[in-house]
Amino acid sequence: MLIILSIGIVVAILAPFLVGSLRYSKNEIINFNLNPGIVLSLIPVGMFIFFFSQIPLISSGTIPFESYPWIESLSINLSFRLDGIGLLFSLMITGIGAGIVLYAGNYLNTHEDLGKFYCYLFLFMTAMIGVSVSDNFFAFFLFWELTSISSYLLIGFNHKEDKSRYSALQALLVTGGGGLALFAGFLLLYTTTGISSFSELSIYNGTLSNAVELSAMILFIIGISTKSAQMPFHFWLPAAMAAPTPVSAYLHSATMVKAGVFLAARLNPYFASVEYWSETLMIIGGTTMLIAALMGVTQTDLKRLLAYSTLSVLGMLITLIGMNSYESLTAFGIVVAAHTLYKATLFLVAGSVDHSVHTRDVTQLGALSRIMPFTTTAGALAALSMLGVIPFAGFLAKEFVYESATQFGYNTVLLVFLFFVTNSLLGAIALRTGIGVFWGKKNNISTEHAHESHWQIVVPPLVFGFLGIVLGIFTSGTTAFFNSVSNSLSRSTLLRELHLWHGFTLILLLSIITIVASYFIYTTISKKGTTPLELKFRLLPTALFGSFIEILFKVAGAVTKFFQNGKLRWYISITFLFAIILIGSSLPFSTNALTFTFPIHVTIYEWMLTAAIIVALVIVIQSNSRLTAIAAMGIVGYAIALFFVLYSAPDLALTQFTIETLTVVLFMFAIYKLPKNVTVPDRNTKLRDASIALSIGSIVTLSILFATGSPSVSELEVFYNTRSLVEAYGRNVVNVIIVDFRALDTLGEIIVLAVAALGIVALLQFSKGEQK
């Protein structure tokens, strides 16, 4: 599996070059225009074939496992495990991915950033496969975050539009914030139990304290709800429809948003026994599926209709995991598969219509079946599956959902009712998006230029649509596979025969009534028209998010303005003040003794140097001219260098002399840019600056006194003195420390220096440009 992931990353890196070379090297001899989408779609197809060939193995109960050490001391390994649910997701990601790559090759054919698009798309695909197969918590988290980042890039793909950028940022902040919660949850589990993988967790038998269990559960549920856009974090998903349609089809219906659901499924074997886990999931999922379906059915934009129905199905999946019953876990796998097939199709169909007619407003669209026969077929297939017509996969999914509701121990009536309403609304959405657009009455829209789309746009949805029937008809053949999926969700082994036809039961009756209700809702809406319901419901979370971002920016702006007001004096004061507070507060706790030896013996040279320093300092403070002050500061520096000479530190003295000289020269050069005379500060400013200066001086002096009192100082001295010549072949200990013993520090320092120099030069250039 590491190979698959590596291939994905490599393709992501190479994709832009491929697109570039196919686009700009017009081969005159062959005169054959190869679309990059065709070439690149071979990669996911290959991956799909690999995963498909694993089906018999996984169905038989074997779970391939591979592990590569990474940071073993922290239990961070790249360990991969392909179990039923992982395989189901991998199949979806690569299968739908292949279609999307092909589709986008034509859909974005003329877009200048097609290369970047494929780069992001393959990054995302790799990340998503990583999420599906990772066993180690931290590897999982890595891929999880990578999906957020690549999704950010894809939503904001049309980065010249404000709306795209805002939606992308919103999605990143919500899912990224959830990612942090997830990470905290993993860390909590790891530090309290030492567990670092899902497989260990699913068979963990030890007990956790209630507090740990509850906090981990809350953190995980935040991660799940943000990623899978459950209420109240749902608002980013409809906004994410600003992305190009292939992205919406891939990320925001078929794969990424299911990552949260996937996480819930991964955690379920252990957390099902944790108090409130199942209940919380059911409440969150149930609320989301109902409200999202209600909000969705009233939409008029094709993509938004589909986005809300996706939200609703995600809620349904969360509810099914929460129910945690024999039937509901079986239903889970089938709903995931059926939904992916029909929803990806509907999105692609919506894109095809948009591409051809240039509108996505369902109240405008109609009677396209003659103009776009293939798109129509695909749309109809998907809609029938979503509606739950026999023999489509959607029918099977709905049967299982109803079955799990009717077999559920308590609140049966409520659950059945909830599922019934949701399914009816979803059916109505199916009719509006997949049927109404093509057979509904033609409205005031010009279809003069409308045309059937390119084969690259038509084939993927057609294939996915047909697969919906295939999956439905060959249900019994998939029994073993779907059992392996549901077995990954639970500790107990579930075996269940799948059949399309269950006989004339109550459930079948429910299914039929649902379809009738859907049709009724659809005709009512078509006749009377609607205003999108979302405004009332959407208002709160979106507005809250908006004001949160606003406040964040304001606070950040205020903090920056306070600390970085552009005055060097202020910067120095702030730096010194923090140093005083930090070092000063730690000094009283120092374990070293203050070393004072009285009487201090002071030679005549030292008195002279001290006197010179004091005189120079008085000049610096009193002077009204910068030039005088700088020269006087130079005297202070030279005197200190002489101190180094007196204390036999020739290396330091040498460096200090050169530095002082250069500093004065630098100041001289810089002085041209400054006003000639210093503005005389008032009394209060003087007092403030004096007290800061005196404090930092005393703090530095004190800390030196404390430091020299440490016994380790003399140990270090002995260490370096004895090793320097023997091990590093140098008699100059200072230099040996710099270039050998602590060379890594020096390397870091010189890198910082280089960056600082770049910054200084850039600033100087900048200010020059501004003056012009």
Partner: protein, 137 residues
């Protein structure tokens, strides 16, 4: 600055200072000196030249841009850290040649590192000083 005394002095002292900076670099491992101070002394050569002859002349005297000196220095320093990796040792572990080389003496990766520091310091000082000077001329 147009001073005949300075110009004449600089002309004579420049080569000496440059030689002195190399001397500091080479003796660094055993006596006071090293790449850092060597680079600083070398930069004074060009700063003096800037003062006596002017910014453009100094840049011509230097022949390469200060930025390329920074790049050369940083690359040299980083390259000196790599050989140990190929020998299976830790990053930056010092490797010394057995035989002594004339003038340089004992030769090893720390010397290469110091050489990198020398060029980097020279490049940094000059890029700052020269870009400050550029404006005032």
């Amino acid at each position: 600055m147009n001073s005949l005394i300075l110009k004449t002095t600089v002309r004579f002292i420049n080569k000496l200072l440059l030689l002195f900076s190399v001397f500091l670099l080479l003796r660094g491992h055993n006596e006071p000196g090293g790449g850092f101070v060597g680079g600083l002394v070398a930069s004074t050569v060009f700063i003096l030249y800037t003062l006596s002859e002017g910014y453009k002349e100094a840049l011509a005297y230097l022949k390469v841009s200060p930025f390329s000196l920074i790049i050369v220095g940083l690359t040299t320093a980083i390259l000196s850290a790599l050989p140990s990796l190929f020998l299976g040792d830790a990053f930056m572990k010092a490797i010394w040649l057995e035989t002594r080389i004339p003038i340089i003496g004992k030769f090893g990766t720390p010397f290469v590192f110091d050489l990198g520091v020398y060029f980097l310091v020279l490049g940094i000082t000059l890029s700052i000083v020269l870009s400050l000077r550029k404006d005032s001329e």
